[in-house]
Symmetry: C2
Subunit: 465 residues, 2 copies
Amino acid sequence: MPERTPADAGARQLHLNAFLMSTGHHEASWRLPESDSFAGTQVAHFQQLARTAERGAFDSIFFADSPVLHGDVRQRPYGTLEPTVLLSAIAAVTKRIGLIATASTTYNDPYNLARRFASLDHISGGRAGWNVVTTAGEAAARNFSLEDQPAHWRRYERAAEFLDAARKLWDSWEDDAAVGDKAAGVWADSSRVHPINHTGRYFRIQGPLDVPRSPQGHPVIVQAGSSEDGKDFAARYAEAVFTAQQTLAEAQRFYADLKRKTAAVGRNPEHIKILPGIVPVIGSTEHEARRLEKQLDELIHPEHARKQLAGVLRVSPESLPLDAQLPEDLPSEDAIEGAKSRYTLIVELARRERLTVRQLIGRLGGGRGHRTFSGTPEQVADAIQEWFEKGAADGFNIMPPVLPSGLDTFVDHVIPILRSRGLFRHQYSGRTLREHYGLPRPENGIAPADSAEAAETERAVPAAV
Amino acid sequence: MPERTPADAGARQLHLNAFLMSTGHHEASWRLPESDSFAGTQVAHFQQLARTAERGAFDSIFFADSPVLHGDVRQRPYGTLEPTVLLSAIAAVTKRIGLIATASTTYNDPYNLARRFASLDHISGGRAGWNVVTTAGEAAARNFSLEDQPAHWRRYERAAEFLDAARKLWDSWEDDAAVGDKAAGVWADSSRVHPINHTGRYFRIQGPLDVPRSPQGHPVIVQAGSSEDGKDFAARYAEAVFTAQQTLAEAQRFYADLKRKTAAVGRNPEHIKILPGIVPVIGSTEHEARRLEKQLDELIHPEHARKQLAGVLRVSPESLPLDAQLPEDLPSEDAIEGAKSRYTLIVELARRERLTVRQLIGRLGGGRGHRTFSGTPEQVADAIQEWFEKGAADGFNIMPPVLPSGLDTFVDHVIPILRSRGLFRHQYSGRTLREHYGLPRPENGIAPADSAEAAETERAVPAAV
């Protein structure tokens, strides 16, 4: 790789997010001798990980979420702490790193959720981010008095109205509304605190929010869906996108497409940061990295994983011998309902790399469709640099296969290389998550118009009285 | 007062909760020179208060809450951080003190809220409590797509079903379900993780919860409504009750009534702790205490407060001269819709103590209907001891008029007296909030029956196949 030096400091810089998950992203990571099987409910574990990521000057940490127990608890640690609550405990022991929580627009109310994110943003001094999800699956629906999930388009329609309403709520206090004038006995200028009177297809919300505007104005909006609806939503609302891309060519296409879509709705394409996921399996030699990958893959129950794979591919488990490649006569993608992009990703991955079913299971167990990359710290840094410089990424969503060791290794061995090449910050220059990602603080969208109107009303009233 | 010595250590002990609120409970506290007007959104302020309360070995701290901006932001700091998120950041900097958040059963979903409290209980190591409220008022309803609030009885009916569903969710994992058997590759015993299949008038919830059972099993359930519906709900569900009582006789009646109601539904009346509120205005002399009270009362805008009082009493502000007592010809309580107990409390307080409107405004501004007590630390300790020993209280909800100074004074000057009298712990003996309050850890209500059923099903299946 051609080196960039710190002298290039003004040059474009990588953004790195640490995607945290109990003992790591590899589904068998909890079985390693080094792992604490019960780490998933231990706040100290996550506080330690966040401090490690902050030591590495990561832009942010991130938790996925779904309001349903969706996996088989025999196989790996499922059942996770609610992210906004967990991140608040992490905010208390960190200073700079961004804190991104996933939350569903299908199974929350805008008022409550907007308030929780505003609270987290106050508590963290402007470090909150929200990964907006619409939550697929009937199992989640059945935790919320529904028989089945709302249709895909309807979930996205609700998500868009939810975001619009949340943004109005975040803007319902002008930034300088609270004045704290002790002498006059005026705590806030009530003409700068506005009802939102939102009326839409899904919600009617009077407002204002019962918390003043937060340090960032709005939390950073993150999105991770890759369907067409998801990309349209991202183009309109997202400021960072987490995405699963297996090859440089695919990642370049996705990157160009989403930047173009973002420009097409009138937004600055630099204000949407695209971060493909990468599961870095790091060894001091290539051989050591491969050995760790193999050790992990061998801890997966092949029969259970084969059954899961057969379910996704809509074939019988018996038609998938472990040491053969996928059969030629799989269903066509058109016949698959509901998880098309995952189906296609899996089949294409297997065909492209001529993987046996056993190898495919290992690859999926490692990153659930995200790109796994095994190698030395130099090789991992090369892989990151290549995509970054070839128009495939603004940065990466780092998904360590094993935690905490995989994050320690990345911070201690990969980040110094990225820094020496002038690709990544040596320390934080900003204080908020928006500053880390180079995103603007949102203007207050509700206040100017309403204030003008209120001012006009105030002028009008005396004349009329 | 007769002294009790530490030798009485086996004797019944007070329980103390610190009710925290931005710059204090007196509505003009933010105007004092010592106060930080913007403390309400600063996590460091609340973390400091929690550490002070923990230094005093308080059982718990507590935040009120309502999902609506219900006050006039000109008058005092309104707009508060969401309590479950705030308490998580406080959990991170404390070790023993209980953490009680208010949350509404009318404007939340059981699945999401049960999960947030389970998460807070995990994060705090068993220190979470939930003050269950049904949230009166049409303004809150209008933040949740409703025109008006559901009827009182309907809110309580929903609350009861909400609690039943939440308890099933908290019990959906048996305590020992997660086994972490690395060698066998079994993370949890899935036969010990149960769907709840709740079906009621308000909710259908499949479950299980997506977080393992928490250290306390259930958060401590707190209740603060004083209507008949509220008391019935408390008798059935509450483990601690915060209540506003102005006189010893009233407090004794309330105490005896609620203990009797609790026994009547088959619960141990010792497992419901009754804590009247007290606003202690403390001075090193009586004179100094009265001066602080007067200083605070004089900072209230009398005109604004008179308008608010007139609204509660359903009369015109002009009919309430500031330096006269309340007029004789007030509406009868029967004519008041919706806030009967508050109306009666205010009128009785004014008549009993022959307060002028100005004095009444001061009293209400200090504690919103809770008992204000001004005096020296000895006198405050006497007042606490008297109610505690005369069957009016199991402890107190301490509502400092000014924060942080009012809590510092209480911890440094009142608590040592209570300790020297053998009435209050010198240090924590337990680790969880349940242990502080002397409450049992709930048995798992769902598991035994379901397990038996599951075991039977397992036995039945092979025979049938």
